[in-house]
């Protein structure tokens, strides 16, 4: 799932400065799972902002609500009543949710309260690690389920650089292990080392702009006029 973390309170309070009625809008999706922007976190943020406002002698009023997923217009309809009663919205969704909210209510200022970080896995409660950089060209079939784009510091495609330490660590340090050593060891254990013997062409990193996905089987449902080609 998408992982995010809350922006510094100073940055958040600065973005909503000057607005009288602020709605802190939580998201029940990914940012709720990573404990950054769910119901509890949106309530906490509203409380924190209230304290900042009180300390600054402001009469700013904060309220909080949470929708199931801010990235789906269906769920945003439920919040339209509350939206009408506020001067701006502080969203604790990911970047996609913030933009969807802005598009749904174009006359309303919408500010992000989170920094969206990565697609990752849950290691433990409150501990997450990046596993996917959504490069649109998945290599995991050849690399033993270990992503070189995400887990190699240089995103190398054809084996390690010269920076692998004797203990198997990466030269960048920070406790990171060499992704290519892990790939090698896993494929060797599976008897599939041949899958990394052939050279892979470099990734096409050309910026393709905002992508649109029409899932296989749904092509007939969306006409060319509705969905622009990616």
């Amino acid at each position: 799932m998408i992982k995010a973390t809350r922006k510094p309170l100073e940055e958040i309070s600065s973005s909503v400065k000057g607005y009288g009625r602020i709605l802190v809008l939580g998201c029940g999706g990914c940012t709720s799972v990573c404990l950054a922007g769910g119901q509890r976190e949106s309530l906490e943020l509203a409380d924190d902002l209230a304290q900042v406002a009180r300390a600054g002698g402001s009469t700013q009023h904060q309220s909080s609500a949470t929708v199931e997923r801010q990235c789906n217009p269906v769920f945003l309809a439920e919040i339209s009543g509350r939206i009408a009663d506020c001067d701006c919205v502080l969203s604790t969704a990911c970047g996609a949710g913030v933009q969807n909210l802005s598009d749904a209510f174009p006359a309303l200022p919408v500010f992000p309260a989170l920094d969206t970080l990565f697609i990752g896995v849950d290691i433990d409660v409150g501990l997450y690690e990046e596993r996917c950089r959504h490069c649109a060209s998945c290599m995991l079939a050849y690399t033993g389920g270990i992503c070189p784009v995400t887990r190699c510091a240089k995103s190398l495609f054809n084996g390690p650089c010269g920076g692998t330490r004797v203990d198997g660590g990466c030269e960048v340090g920070e406790g990171k292990s060499c992704a290519w050593l892990e790939i090698h060891d896993r494929l060797k254990a599976q008897g599939r080392l041949d899958s990394i013997l052939s050279l892979r062409p470099p990734m096409d990193w050309v910026d393709r702009g905002p992508a649109t996905l029409v899932q296989v089987g749904y092509e007939g449902r969306y006409t060319a006029a509705k969905v622009a080609a990616p």
Binding site: G28, S32, V33, L35, G38, Q39, R40, A65, T66, V67, E68, R69, N72, V74, F75, E78, G81, V125
Partner: protein, 131 residues
Amino acid sequence: MKTTATKAAPVNAEVLDLVRRRRKLVKLSLGACAHCALCAESCFKYRNSGQDPTYTPSYKAINTIGKIVKRRGRLSPGEYEKVRELAFDKCVLCMRCRCPVGVDLPYLISLARSACREVGIERGYLEGKNA
């Protein structure tokens, strides 16, 4: 047999507002439900639960927002806890449940979640417990 009555919590104003706004829609939707259980087949939670009927999308809608609307939000904390279990634990809101009559089951379940949130109940992600 002596029974212990469960004390309903004071009605939350936001829940009451939600019920007022969506009462007709919920009643129409659940009134149209033919109890055919065809929606069950489109729910992966139902299929993976050994076909436990409480995972059937229609069951979840009827016993969450259906109950909330019918009782105008006057549910006891224990009853809200059962609603939470159905709307949060037994549904991931993947929106894939299909009703041949056209009842928007995901939307109904999302309404139940909204009501739960208004009374301070949500899915917990801290060590798997309701936080």
